[in-house]
């Protein structure tokens, strides 16, 4: 990563876009404290990750398809353990509400390892909302979901943001999804932020028809895009 600097404001969904290997997951790993940046700082609501790690991490949560919850515990047991890790008040009520919200009630006592990948993704999303995080990190949250479930999940997250005024950092390779849910996008290429702007107006500014065409241009010709943006 090289000179990556950005903020996610309350109530804002920021899309982190870029080709494979651009640095999206690396950026998310840094924000959630499992990878230390060489320089610079990460702060959540005034808590610095480097010096107030527990405080900063208690203000965020994450979901990613590559980090399913332990398969040897049931859905309820996993959520109960993570509710303790995040010191959630009234955990039973919160878990019941999330099971309802993500249509997981029938899987309450089912081991996570026996769920389909889409169901596991929903469990991860339920975990991610346990502590009402002011910052939500979502790494391709709808990658393994069918279109109907993916739409429902997008609506759930949008409504969470509207109600809680949380900020969301969202990576996805689905440009239609990004255009639908994100207020702002950051295009990463080779560890640097190449472009930033409104997903609805950014493609036209760079002579592209839509976000997908812009994505392809960033992936294939990052230098030409960089020169235009400068």
């Amino acid at each position: 990563m090289d000179g990556v600097s950005f903020c996610v404001r309350p109530g804002e969904i920021v899309g982190l876009l870029g080709p494979n290997g651009a640095g999206k997951t690396t950026t998310i790993n840094m924000v959630m404290g499992v990878l230390e940046p060489d320089s610079g700082f990460i702060a959540v609501e005034g808590s610095f990750l480097s010096t107030q790690r527990s405080n900063a991490l208690s203000r965020m949560n994450f979901a990613a398809g590559y980090a399913p919850l332990p398969g040897n515990l049931t859905v309820y047991q996993n959520l109960r353990v993570f509710s303790l890790l995040y010191s959630v008040a009234h955990p039973r009520n919160r878990i019941d509400a999330l099971l309802e919200q993500f249509d997981l009630r029938k899987f309450r006592h089912v081991k996570c390892g026996t769920l389909s990948s889409g169901e596991q993704t929903r469990v991860s999303l339920a975990k991610a909302l346990l502590n009402h995080p002011p910052l939500l990190l979502l790494d391709e949250p709808t990658a393994s979901l069918d279109p109907a479930t993916a739409r429902r999940i997008r609506l759930e997250i949008r409504s969470y943001v509207d109600e809680s005024r949380a900020g969301v950092l969202w990576t996805s390779h689905n440009m239609h999804e990004v255009a639908e849910v994100c207020n702002r996008v950051l295009f990463l290429s080779r560890g640097r932020i190449l472009l930033e702007g409104d997903p609805k107006t950014l493609p036209a500014l760079h002579g592209k028809k839509n976000l997908e065409d812009l994505f392809v241009a960033v992936a294939l010709e990052p230098l030409s895009i960089e020169q235009v943006s400068q």
């Binding site: 997951t25 690396t26 790993n29 959630m32 404290g33 499992v34 990878l35 230390e36 790690r53 527990s54 405080n55 991490l57 208690s58 994450f62 990613a64 980090a67 919850l69 332990p70 398969g71 040897n72 515990l73 049931t74 047991q77 109960r80 353990v81 993570f82 303790l84 890790l85 995040y86 010191s87 975990k127």
Partner: protein, 265 residues
Amino acid sequence: MNFHRVAAVLLRYAYLIRGSLSRVFPLFTWVAIDMVLWGYLTRYLNTITTSNFVPTLLGAVLLWNFFIRVMQGVTMIFFEDVWSRNFLNVFSTPISVGEYLLGLVLSSVTTSLIGLGVMLALATAVFGFSGMAYGAMAIPFLLVLFVYGISMGILGCALVLRLGPAAEWFIWPIPALLSPFVGVLYPLDILPAWMREVARVLPASYVFESLRSLVLGHAVSFAPVLWGMGLAGLHLFAACWVFRAVFRRAVRTGLIARYSSESVS
């Protein structure tokens, strides 16, 4: 220190134990087999000699097994996170290294006490062992071995975190590697000089030397056990320091995020 987060580590292990017979059986099966094996050997030795081997041999094996249970109690719970690839989920929560380690230690207290209870019941009921043979010294003996077991468990976790899941095979033989040096079954005098030098820095060797001295009726001295306790404390401090350093390195290099046997180098 947030006790909710410590309790989370404990609760996770309780859920795993509750739902799995294959995790419950090892808590008492191996210690019971060891007690039966060494109990009958002790009984046989008592028939061909005039000495009573129960407090020196069976008692020493019982204490050494307690050390092994404590150590493995810590590493097993850590391995559960390794096997379920749970590091990313756990270490992106607000839990601190200290809280995580305390959770491992408290879980180990529970499992090792179960093992100790089973061993005491068998050794007492079947082979006539009496903890009273050690008097009040039984408590410091157990305490030194407990602290030492915890420190070796934490050191084992640090090694696996640093070297990858495949390194768990370095951890299981650690007690077998230590046992010749600490003199579980024989006095340290019979060891060559270089092995005695190694034994000096191992807290458990002071326990087993004191145990034999006590049973043979020599004057009870607290000094060696206190020395053993001090050494065990030092080992614990060093193990925590090593784990913290390995964890920091894992965060600096991104190891936590991509932890698997294939990706650790």
